[in-house]
Symmetry: C2
Subunit: 360 residues, 2 copies
């Protein structure tokens, strides 16, 4: 059994690392060799995409912004999972929002604009608004928060989607999995803390059960509508007892990394199992768990300060440290949510000794 | 940080696989490239042992029957962990037994013989005895059970150790870890089922608490006496409420593989942490857990029959299936010991469809 992974980043890296225990091989394709490429059984450059696809039983992707030619060819060969529809919707925020709204899934009010000035005016007309590039963009890139008092400063004249700002209580997300037999399973939703559009830490399970149930139902509906195969991450705004979808990611997701520790199965294993037609299972969270991302810094000399009997380190082995770059993460599990929060606060001071803002 | 591993088998393979998540590299040295060699950051052949040792921060071994030149050189450079004493005692069963007895640790009555005939006679004089080759030998190789009724059949005329046969209730083992600071931690001891001298399955924790306490105390004493650094596996015979040491292994051990699932930390992580001067911790068994070894067979077409929400597969990616060869193992965890036993019985029928005896 050979699984092809398009994309050579940390998500592919953890997918391979987690599933090396199975009698399987992993081939990776990308423009450049990254973490997943280093540990793949075979690495292919993009121009070799036909050999890559033809030698794999199934092909998945670790990130949705990957080369379209490979995706298309794998799709034509009936090997691509999840299928290309789930990616195409992600290439254009308008299509994604329209799809969600047309399926009666809760999204914030939104409009589009073909240049920044128009986007700015719409955002101000909302009172408070968020401008996001219509195509591409993740981890807060090309995102602008605008309110009545924001002074106009020009930005790239590209197409934008403008969302009415949701005055949410907090952000939350769910990791769910679905297979060819339409079986559906999910991990307990997590509370997420983002800053500058980047996930800093998260903790699962989220405390509010109403919020959880709504997220689970939405995940099930969305994945059924897409006839989805694989793991999906869906981010939400939680407002009182309700949730509004921020966006979905057709792949394993940063807010699912906590499933690597203290859980009976990880999101990476569920994804590979589902894509490869192996049984998916109901995950059991042995303990509440969370992660702290390590961004823009190494942890040289700090490992012994970080690890104890309730923490673990996942390092992505990237070639160099860069500001805003996710270098690894720390898993934390404990008997209760509040202990995890406390530990994360301590770890932030260890990892980001010059203050978080200097790294992201 | 670079850890050198002498030996390229499945134990090194799991060590690397488990610890890839750390900001570390793994170099492997062996006569031939095996599973661990395939996934190592660098592989060295034996004649390159000086470069190997000099480029590593620490050197450990995945198996005690490895090249002596490398062990010695790593020892001279103060990089070998555990140190060479723990290996030397294992190269000669007499030294091992003498060491244990001299330290008041419980072993069966034993004698030595320099040829098979003498060994046979001593075994018969014990009433019931076990003949084991004095040097080398594992997984039941060169072991003979003799009683009053056994007819003499000649075997290799090599030195032997003869043990008085212990009429034990069952076999059990403990996996423990110790570091440079003399910190000591242990995993819950397991019940082991062996056949033809090969471990077939095990389940932890063992049901008898008196047996457990005795094993823990013996592990602590033995590791202190050896000033041991790393993980050690110690096998015992359980008789009523007492234990007698069968043997110890100065390394990660087949009866510790259950710590890969349902446990807060695995034996492989504790070993690498201890050897690399990283914190070792008290392991928490989230659930009772066990393993079934996959010996002498592949599992092609059987994965979906094996995996469910309480089982997992660890495959060693060896080049070919051979009778008696350990090809992988299955982890099982559940809420109680008896459920695990039941599941193991089911799995034996799936994996060994022609009857266990035909594979070992």
């Amino acid at each position: 059994m050979i699984l092809g992974i398009i994309g050579s980043g940390q998500l592919g890296y953890m997918m391979i690392n987690t599933m090396r225990k199975y009698p399987m091989e992993f081939y990776v394709i990308d423009e450049n060799k990254g973490p997943a490429g280093y540990i793949a059984d075979k690495f292919f450059y993009l121009n070799d995409y036909k050999t890559f696809v033809n030698s794999c039983d199934y092909v998945t992707f670790e990130f949705e912004q990957v080369d379209e030619t490979v995706l298309k060819y794998a799709g034509e060969k009936n090997k691509l999972r999840p299928d290309i529809k789930s990616v195409n919707l992600k290439k254009d925020r308008l299509l994604e929002k329209d799809f969600l709204r047309n399926n009666n899934l809760p999204v914030a009010e939104y409009e589009i604009a073909d240049n920044y000035k128009k986007a700015f005016d719409i955002a101000q007309s909302f009172g408070k608004g968020v401008i996001k590039s219509r195509h591409g963009g993740y981890d807060g890139k090309n995102q602008y928060f605008i309110d009545k008092n924001t002074k106009y400063i020009g930005h790239d004249n590209i197409p934008y989607v403008i969302e009415k700002f949701i005055d949410y209580d907090y952000e939350a997300s769910i990791i769910a999995v679905r297979n060819e037999n339409k079986d559906f399973e999910f991990f307990d939703p997590s509370f997420n803390y983002n800053k500058n559009g980047i996930l800093i830490y998260n903790i699962a399970p989220v405390k509010n059960n109403n919020i959880s149930s709504k997220m689970i139902n939405i995940a099930k509906t969305l994945m059924n509508k897409l006839n989805y195969i694989g793991v999906m991450g869906i981010e939400f705004y939680a407002v009182n007892d309700n949730v509004i979808i921020n966006e979905y990611s057709p792949r394993v997701h940063n807010t699912g990394h906590h499933t690597l520790s203290g859980s009976s199965i990880s999101q990476f294993e569920e994804h590979v199992r589902s894509v490869m037609n192996l049984k998916i299972v109901k995950p059991v969270l042995f303990k509440p768990s969370g992660i702290l991302n390590i961004i823009g810094t190494d942890i040289n000399g700090k490992i012994n300060k970080i690890i104890d009997n309730k923490t673990d380190i996942y390092w992505y082995h990237k070639s160099e440290v860069r500001r805003k770059r996710k270098m690894g993460h720390i898993n934390i599990y404990d008997d209760c949510y509040d202990n995890i929060q406390k530990k994360i606060n301590e770890l932030i001071n260890i990892v980001y000794e010059n203050g978080l803002d200097n790294y992201i």
